[in-house]
């Protein structure tokens, strides 16, 4: 395409646009950074009077550390369970062999479309009846709602991108479908499986709505901890926690930007 000749107006506009995007995107995140190191900040000074790592070091002990390790444990269990359960569904869907196909797949997309909170509130009522409210298994179950949806869709895309020719070749040599799947299809789909696992893990680590309702009052993960701190005007603690919560996602964006396909990225919008 013919590149337009740069006019003065165009260049000024371009610079203004770049500056505006920079301020709008980075500004709120920079405030978090400032608050996280502000040991003393009295209004209306534009900068903290005293900066230090006091609140960061507090992150490494006591309640926040417990919330972090508990969140990582829950996310790990959720990821393993979601992937193990989603692989058969995704493979059958990719090969169009899912019984009651469209109906079953609809079940795996509707949680994305409905507002989460009323459904989770209703699930909390059920979980109370089943003694799952306020327990780690209850929180894992609620994280599996989003986790299964993400896993099924990313894995279906991954399996579908592997053409049936290789599978047919293996089957012509006498391998069963199941053997072919484990020896041919699954290894080839490994990049997609890894992307799916990362997505489910991040979803669980960042999940707030369900954890707040189902986990209360005994299961506190990092997002719930951050919410409590922010509402209690412990802005430093909340800001440190917020930055810690952002780390995995931003690292992923920096490392994998080129490898993450647009349809995976679209899922992150729902975190």
């Amino acid at each position: 395409m013919r590149s337009p000749s740069p006019s003065l107006l165009g260049l000024v506009g371009r610079a203004a646009l770049g500056a505006l995007v920079l301020v709008a995107v980075v500004g709120p995140l920079l405030s978090l950074g400032l608050w996280s190191v502000a040991e003393r900040w009295h209004w209306p000074a534009p900068f903290p009077q005293q900066v230090g790592m006091k609140y960061w070091s507090r992150m490494l002990q006591g309640d926040p550390l417990r919330a972090l390790t508990r969140g990582v444990t829950i996310a790990s269990v959720t990821t393993v369970l979601a992937l193990a359960m989603a692989v058969p569904v995704a493979y059958l869907a990719a090969r169009r062999r899912l019984p009651a196909g469209p109906l079953a797949l609809a079940l795996f997309i509707l949680p994305q479309a409905f507002p989460q909170l009323p459904v989770f509130a209703s699930a909390t009522v059920l979980f109370y009846r089943w003694n799952l409210a306020g327990t780690v298994p209850g929180v894992v179950l609620i994280h599996l709602v989003g986790g299964l949806v993400y896993a099924v869709w990313t894995l279906t895309a991954a399996f579908r991108s592997i053409g049936p020719e290789l599978e047919e070749a293996a089957q012509n040599l006498g391998a069963s479908t199941t053997r072919t799947f484990f020896r041919v299809t699954l290894p080839l789909a490994m990049p997609g499986v890894v992307a799916s696992a990362i997505l489910v893990f991040l979803h669980s680590l960042d999940e707030f709505n369900g954890t707040l309702l189902v986990g209360a009052p005994y299961v506190t993960t990092l997002p719930v901890y951050m919410y409590t701190a922010s509402l209690g005007y412990e802005l430093q603690i909340a800001s440190v926690t917020a930055l810690v919560l952002m780390v995995p996602g931003v690292v992923l964006l920096l490392l994998l930007e080129r490898f993450l396909r647009a349809e995976y990225l679209a899922f992150f919008g729902h975190l």
Partner: protein
């Protein structure tokens, strides 16, 4: 795939379906049913209470979501059109960052940034753009909420729109350029009409997400004045223990989200 394998695979697929039925399907059905029951009797009283107590909040929620969608797409269309016509990778990358910032973190960041004594007031005061010590009241009302929701949703909208705009063939844009169309004309007269379907889809998804937003308003609201629907639902459920009215609020949000349900189901049917 022989008969035994077919049975085996179907059996292996069953747990995922069962888990979603128990954690999503059953609660959804229960909330629909509970919205029509009060004190053990079938009734419309929950809806009457919603009308009496929350009708302003329903309108407020619709207004905030509509304003958010307008602002998001006013920015998103122009940005995506700009990136399509004049590539600018690092700004495009920068705009993707909020995609990876969880909703609840966005809520807290915007609270710190926009509240009256927040960092935006301080920065503008330090730069001399407002009198030092001015407390801008952006963060606590509807405008702050709209700005925060836009900040979070713009990333996904730009991502979807850039994808759609890149699918438009260069020859159309070159033809428009030949007639002297500039950036704005090319965006609005070529790119937007040729991407009508993905644009409408992105619009419906953004609207639903904003209508159902919970953690951002939860962290930004000051507890008085009109509230978003999900905040009402949370307090009705958590503090009043009134599952009936909470469910009625939920059913209203399902109805408002029906556009997204339709769009998603159509994408499955394809």
């Amino acid at each position: 795939m022989n008969r035994w394998e077919r049975w085996g695979w179907t059996l292996a697929a069953l747990p995922a379906v069962l888990v979603l039925l128990v954690t999503f399907g059953l609660p959804l059905a229960q909330s629909l049913a509970a919205s029509f029951v009060r004190d053990g009797r079938p009734t419309l009283e929950n809806y009457a209470l919603v009308y009496r107590l929350y009708r302003q909040d329903v309108l407020y929620t619709l207004g905030v979501a509509a304003a958010g969608v307008l602002l998001t797409f006013a920015c998103g269309i122009h940005l995506a059109g700009y990136f399509r016509l004049r590539a600018w990778p690092w700004v495009e990358f920068l705009l993707k960052v909020p995609l990876f910032v969880p909703f609840v973190v966005t809520g807290h960041a915007m609270r710190v940034f926009l509240q009256p004594s927040g960092t935006l007031s301080l920065a503008l005061g330090a730069l001399g753009l407002v009198a030092p010590g001015t407390r801008l009241g952006l963060g606590e009302g509807w405008l702050g909420l709209v700005l925060a929701l836009t900040w979070k949703h713009l990333a996904l909208v730009v991502l979807l729109l850039v994808g759609a705009f890149r699918a438009v063939d260069d020859s159309y844009l070159e033809a428009a350029q030949g007639f002297g169309a500039g950036y704005l004309r090319q965006t609005w007269a070529v790119l937007v009409p040729m991407s009508a379907t993905p644009l409408a889809l992105a619009c419906v998804l953004t609207l639903t997400s904003m209508l159902g937003s919970f953690s951002i308003p939860l962290l930004m609201s000051r507890g008085s004045g009109p509230q978003m629907l999900m905040i009402d639902l949370y307090y009705r459920f958590g503090q009043h223990g009134d599952f009936g009215v909470a469910s009625a609020l939920g059913v209203i949000s399902y109805v408002l989200a029906s556009g997204a349900v339709y769009a998603y189901l159509r994408s499955v049917a394809r």
